[in-house]
Symmetry: C2
Amino acid sequence: MLKVPDHQVAGHKGAHGQPGPLIDDSGRFYKPLQGDDRGAIEAAFYTSFSSNTRVPDHIRRFFPVFHGTQLLEASDGSGQRPHLVLEDVVSGRSHPSVMDVKIGSRTWYPEASEDYIQRCFEKDRKSSSLCLGFRISGLQLYGSEESGLWKPERKLVQNLSADEVRVVLKKFVSSNSPIDPNLNPDCSFASSVYGGSSGILAQLLELKSWFEDQTIYHLNSCSVLMVYEKKKVLKGGSSDAEVKLIDFAHVTEGNGIIDHNFVGGLCSLIKFISEILTSPDECTTKVCLQNSDNNNEEILTSSNDCTTKVCL
Amino acid sequence: MLKVPDHQVAGHKGAHGQPGPLIDDSGRFYKPLQGDDRGAIEAAFYTSFSSNTRVPDHIRRFFPVFHGTQLLEASDGSGQRPHLVLEDVVSGRSHPSVMDVKIGSRTWYPEASEDYIQRCFEKDRKSSSLCLGFRISGLQLYGSEESGLWKPERKLVQNLSADEVRVVLKKFVSSNSPIDPNLNPDCSFASSVYGGSSGILAQLLELKSWFEDQTIYHLNSCSVLMVYEKKKVLKGGSSDAEVKLIDFAHVTEGNGIIDHNFVGGLCSLIKFISEILTSPDECTTKVCLQNSDNNNEEILTSSNDCTTKVCL
């Protein structure tokens, strides 16, 4: 039985006459091939990647498993359409906290059309991509049994400043409510989610090491997805923290050159996460997470007391 | 006694009514402050850097020592002008082989004027910067006692392809003449110049490790200068290989974010140099280094026999 995924935080959704992804109960994710080059590029990437013996096994686990393509009734009822059949990376998780981080200060690739390059160039400059080397593309945080999952508007998430990104990365691993503006993120779960030998930082460092060497692919506009089970951690269990790479609609060949744009952005994300692990309290930051139009005055940075308020 | 430096391979020279740098016999390099923001930015950088206690000593050695500013008669006779007084990084070397590598796929910085950004953006796309994450900005190779120093035209050096850059990085550490098009670079000196515990690769890795952590400066449009003494190596001596960072006219504050643009480019350069050390013969490449208009047919890549001819 196919259904619309609950935990998609970024990427194309089924809307405006465009079909969206579907999932089933067996852990598969069905992504409609986009009609233009992007669908063909992504299918070609998965085909190449899944048979490429130069990709080591410990790296392969960071990519969704590929099960080929399949004709399926599109989610918008527009008829049969080819879909990529992929591993559903949040399958089996009931309340996953999810963050989608688009890596790279540049999201365009040299061979794209001039019009496409200009549009991406402007978006990279307006968002945090240019400044940070990455941008948060989507976010879903589990609060508590009562509050459930909280998913701020995508547009707000994408245009955060460096300080705001730091706050969100802290909120991601905090026990207190992400929504309450008066609660500082306590980073209670930083060590169990970001830290440790199998935590997110260790996984990102493993990826970094491969990207410093691999010259097969340039993953333009690709995302690092970070996922964990806060509900389990709250009960004293493991965080099941996991990093996955997703979105390969703009991959180009590496031609013997490393993906320096990806490496730079990944190093920047790693630095942010390392800092949270080593000095979570260095800068106290208040975050008000209501999406409200009338409290713009809350968006301020007070450098004197090192407190930043962020309103999403 | 001040004089014009012999071994400058990139950067502004004294020409067209612009004063150029000067050196003296005591190992100092006098760089005229550019009249616009660039001079002020570079002076501010050196002042900040030389007193910044957060910069570790093992990193400080990669930067020219700063001796303040001084009013001096400009090299073009245009009168007294303020100069940065710096360490002459090739002082004491008679026949240095020198390569100036401008790091980063992006040479502009966000706060620059729209006009400046557009000009840099176009230059980055046309040169190897966008593709490789760096570009060779200048080059001087020592050939032999007879041929002396060989310095190809700067414009030709800046627009090399990835294959051509690989060839030049091999030429840099080869015993055979850089000028003879029929000689494949033998990479004889790769291990003594690029390799070893004090070679160029080790120095670049030390820098990389710092850049993955430091969030003080963003070194936009800065160069890595690689220098060694081929004449000494030819006589069985040490290569005295040295890495220096130069050109800080576009430095901006890091504001708690790593210089991901620099890190990415540096990782790319490191990968090229590592490959020469681990598999110097993987791709045989012929290079004809005469600057001639009538042998364009020599600029070809024959992927069948993995031989690339490069004409500078």
